[in-house]
């Protein structure tokens, strides 16, 4: 007879399983017939006996090569369950009616466990994230996400903290980015 109360390891595994099932739910609305009709109507005709894969290759050709490297916004990490570590509390400059909000030299994020230093140069804002105090031991070596005030739907950068709890990244300097940085949030991404 098995013990009805699972051990802590079993409970952790159960939560992992629940998280995976949650991630696999159909949160997005289904494909509509109208959209499918529109898409099929605009695609080229399929020749008789043309293999399906060949026709799909013609119908959805690869995009032209990009002109150069571009910023790639963070995509949703597979099975990453983000957890909020800290956020910049309502920073007045974010709402100031300035075209280009001024960045402070640093921000301390509540609950005082994280500090972010800003340095601007050549159209790029360089960020240094530093875990402080007790947070350091827990966060070193971990990967964290920097996001805007809306959380992980507004990703800015991913940062891996080194053994000293410090991490660096850079984002393009723009008024929109600055407004997000002034309301910065830091999320812990769970380990795969």
């Amino acid at each position: 007879m098995t013990n009805p109360i699972p051990t802590q390891d079993e409970q952790r595994a159960a939560w992992d399983r629940i998280e995976r099932r949650l991630a696999a739910l159909d949160w997005e609305p289904p494909l509509t017939p109208a959209l499918l009709d529109r898409l099929v109507a605009q695609l080229p005709a399929r020749a008789a006996d043309e293999p399906l894969a060949d026709w799909l290759g013609r119908a959805f050709p690869p995009a032209a090569a990009p002109a150069g490297a571009r910023i790639i916004p963070m995509q949703r990490r597979p099975r990453a369950r983000p957890r909020l570590l800290g956020r910049a509390l309502a920073w007045a400059a974010a709402d100031a009616p300035l075209e280009v909000p001024a960045l402070p030299t640093h921000l301390v994020l509540d609950p005082g466990g994280l500090r972010v230093d800003f340095r601007e140069a050549d159209g790029v804002v360089y960020l240094t994230l530093q875990a402080l105090g007790f947070t350091l031991a827990r966060l070193r070596g971990l990967e964290v996400a920097l996001t805007g005030p809306d959380g992980v739907s507004q990703p800015l950068a991913l940062v891996t903290l080194d053994a000293r709890g410090a991490g660096h990244c850079a984002v393009p300097d723009s008024p929109e980015t600055r407004r997000l940085l002034l309301r910065l949030q830091v999320w812990e991404l769970s380990q795969p």
Partner: protein
């Protein structure tokens, strides 16, 4: 047979079931409509993140494919095509763009013939059974619901096929000729003993090819169906997709690009490890799990490097000096193509400029590879679960226990109902039979002021937020305990 568990493949089966319901009602361009519909579905969440292998070293433009004839947005004539390219995923949300890994998945996985498993004896493949489920939706007056699929030494009926069956019989005959004898040795053996596989109706029958693709099944299905597609068909689709996805899922969970290790192809640029059988991939997966577990351990001293973790894991799994995952020594594994990919290309770093990028001042964010796939079935041949704590804990009672002891869920009737319906019963959120259409769920939502009752999108956002918060709280509590 019990219904499939609500895995990501089950979700895909449910989405395909819904797509077939739409597509089969209009026989024009059936294959095109299903293929394009599948591409769009696979390009969306949760499949993009949970099912597809994606090499995030690629730049954004090459990860998204724009359909021919799509200027920018047909509803927005002023849209800038370049800006459109930069907004690929958002555009895909609207439906027009497709994710390149989705196209690869369709080609590599969904166009594949299902081969016969060794343990099936005289039974046909799940794809043959799927065909029976599909044709059973034909008109009852013609006998379609009584269709059977079985191996028989000869045709069960010698009567010339009636008109309504002629089209189906011609299609099946073409498939038999096209395949010829290019089927697997197990099928050859079973066919020699038990005869070919036949699709038989009360008064007519036609031989089936030994191995079928999903598209073969659709081509032979009488359209439009006489009734709505039933749940048995959805479960049949799920079983077929589980089989088709098995090798792809294992390669993905090992961090190996399925396109570089095609099942029946030359190794391409994959080096000399062309023989990546499912059994061997399971060993690679076990190795990666062990290495990831070592890396995740709280380091008392210097954290392990990935190479050290893999080396330790390799030695642990290499019992009695026997080869581990086909490699006699750690050095053999570490210097192989597979080893190099698994050890060094597993994690991706951040802020690396794209190689060859013209603009040195821009930055690229790169994703990590997919996490190991834990949601495993027992090995169909050995019946054994893979080792490791997660693989051994498949008890629904554990899930029930932790949910009952989660205050954020237990004290929230709407969330509690939603979790049980979706995570336990495998119900969908959208569509017919989905929780959003359930009157019981609607009554619960109406009875609480916490959730918006009229805006489904806002309701789902709030539910997802509350669920994540509740799970996070409980996991933290466990971590502190």
């Amino acid at each position: 047979m019990p219904p499939p568990r609500p895995t990501i493949v089950f979700r895909l089966a449910a989405a395909l079931h819904r797509l077939l319901q739409q597509a089969l009602s209009d026989p024009r361009d059936l294959e095109k409509r299903v293929a394009v519909g599948l591409l769009v579905i696979l390009s969306r969440e949760p499949f993009r993140s949970e099912l597809l292998f994606c090499d995030f070293d690629q730049d954004r433009e090459s990860l998204w494919l724009r359909p021919v004839g799509e200027g920018a947005d047909p509803e927005d004539p002023d849209a800038d095509p370049d800006a459109d390219a930069a907004a690929g995923p958002a555009r895909a949300g609207a439906g027009a763009w497709v994710f390149k890994p989705a196209q690869e998945y369709l080609t590599l996985v969904l166009c594949r013939r299902l081969t016969l498993a060794n343990n099936l004896m005289e039974r046909p493949t799940n794809m043959h059974l799927l065909l029976r489920h599909l044709v059973a939706h034909g008109p009852a007056a013609q006998g379609w619901p009584a269709a059977r699929v079985a191996r028989l030494p000869g045709p069960p009926s010698s009567v010339p096929p009636p008109d309504f069956f002629e089209q189906c019989a011609k299609t099946l005959e073409k498939q038999v000729h096209r395949l010829g004898t290019r089927y697997g040795p197990i099928s050859r053996e079973r066919r020699a003993v038990h005869g070919p596989i036949w699709l038989s109706l009360p008064d007519c029958a036609a031989e089936l090819a030994e191995e079928l693709t999903l598209w073969d099944c659709l081509a032979a299905t009488p359209v439009p169906p006489a009734r709505d597609l039933d749940d048995d068909l959805r479960d049949g689709l799920s079983r077929v997709l589980e089989s088709l996805n098995k090798r792809y899922g294992l390669l993905r969970s090992c961090g190996l690009d399925p396109a570089q290790w095609p099942e029946d192809g030359a190794p391409g640029d994959a080096g000399d490890e062309a023989d990546l059988s499912v059994a061997r991939l399971r060993q690679f997966q076990a190795l990666r799990r062990a290495a990831e577990a070592l890396l995740a351990r709280d380091p008392a001293g210097r954290p392990l490097t990935r190479e050290e973790a893999f080396a330790q894991a390799f030695r642990v799994l290499q019992t009695d000096g026997k080869p581990c995952a086909g490699f006699a020594t750690w050095k053999d594994f570490a210097t192989s193509t597979v080893g190099e990919r698994m050890i060094h290309r597993g994690p991706r770093s951040l802020d690396e400029a794209l190689p060859g990028g013209a603009d040195g001042g821009t930055f690229t964010l790169v994703e990590q590879l997919a996490a190991p796939e834990w949601d495993q079935d027992p090995d169909p041949e050995t019946g054994l679960m893979l080792t490791g704590p997660e693989a051994q804990l498949d008890r629904q009672s554990d899930l029930a226990y932790v949910l009952e002891h989660c205050p954020g869920i237990r004290n929230n009737p709407v969330l509690d109902w939603f979790v049980r319906a979706t995570l336990f019963d495998g119900r969908l959120i959208h569509g017919a039979g989905g929780v959003l259409d359930d009157p019981g769920f609607r009554r619960l939502v109406d009875a609480t002021a916490r959730y918006p009752a009229t805006d489904d999108e806002a309701l789902l956002s709030a539910l997802e937020r509350d669920l994540n918060e509740a799970v996070r709280y409980c996991k933290n509590r466990l971590r502190r305990a």
